[in-house]
Symmetry: C2
Subunit: 200 residues, 2 copies
Amino acid sequence: MKLYFSPASPFARKVRVSALELGLAERIELLQISLSPVSPHTDLRQHNPLGKIPALITDEGAALYDSPVICEYLDALAGGARLWPAAGPARWRALTRQALADGITDAAVLVRYEQAVRPEPLRWAQWIEGQWLKIRTALEALERDSLEGVFDIGTISVACALGYLDFRFAEEGWRARLPRLAAWYALISERASLAATRPS
Amino acid sequence: MKLYFSPASPFARKVRVSALELGLAERIELLQISLSPVSPHTDLRQHNPLGKIPALITDEGAALYDSPVICEYLDALAGGARLWPAAGPARWRALTRQALADGITDAAVLVRYEQAVRPEPLRWAQWIEGQWLKIRTALEALERDSLEGVFDIGTISVACALGYLDFRFAEEGWRARLPRLAAWYALISERASLAATRPS
């Protein structure tokens, strides 16, 4: 298999963490690329018309995306029901957590585009505030959630979202307000799969 | 169950179409709300901290989101493997199509925000062009795809993405360039579930 990725991408990190946890990392060739929201990558777009990473090319030559699809595919390849609980309350909880975490990351990426890519005179403070409100409300919900002892696609996604916030917005300082989430994140970050894929 | 939705939301439409196809629509109370990317909805946010629709409240009181999670939950509730193929090539194809279609809709929503919500002096033509490039490349990939005879979460998502483009960007006129996709869409749009949920 081949994976289009960048070391900074929080969505590609979910795939790399899953592959490491499932013992599949050695079967995946990593193709590192750089992307910008306003300049497309020709080779990637032949596989994923949206021009987004991660995109996986299977051994059969099929292109799979986005990160939830690739992660579920890898889980099935490793026997199934390992990082993706079977249908039932645990699955809906894990997948809703994944949606919450990916939503945090989506909002953070939009803030990043607004602040680092869009020309300065065209930036809109209210848009940035709206995205931060999503992020902060979602983090507060995670502070009240029971993440301890759970390791699945939901908590992997939460860890990757928090890693991205630390990587791009270290000044946000969410740990002071959310001590339980901070303690959970400190512990899970020690896992080899997360330690090996820290964004850079 | 209760579903937060708006009649214009292409992602909520996926859920409403799925519910109709699965015979579950009568078990879902529809809670219609209006959203803006810069003004949050307090009641919705108590259930979905991201403040996005669709969000489903199950009969057990759990909040589920986003649209793929709710659609898969409804499919399981109706017995499973009806609109979501079981693990295997058909599933990965359906879920990648869903990601492609949802990616078209995401890009179209970003264009809509840029053109209808962001103050005019802050709009960035290059950003809009970048989103349209994603949309058009994805539509061209769908023109080459074999959608005929397939009805699952992948093709439902494609139909809802095209419906949103027609609703917000009728002037785009994609049908002239993509006759095979146009013929497929004309046929699938006649289904009762899609006809009953046309955006307004």
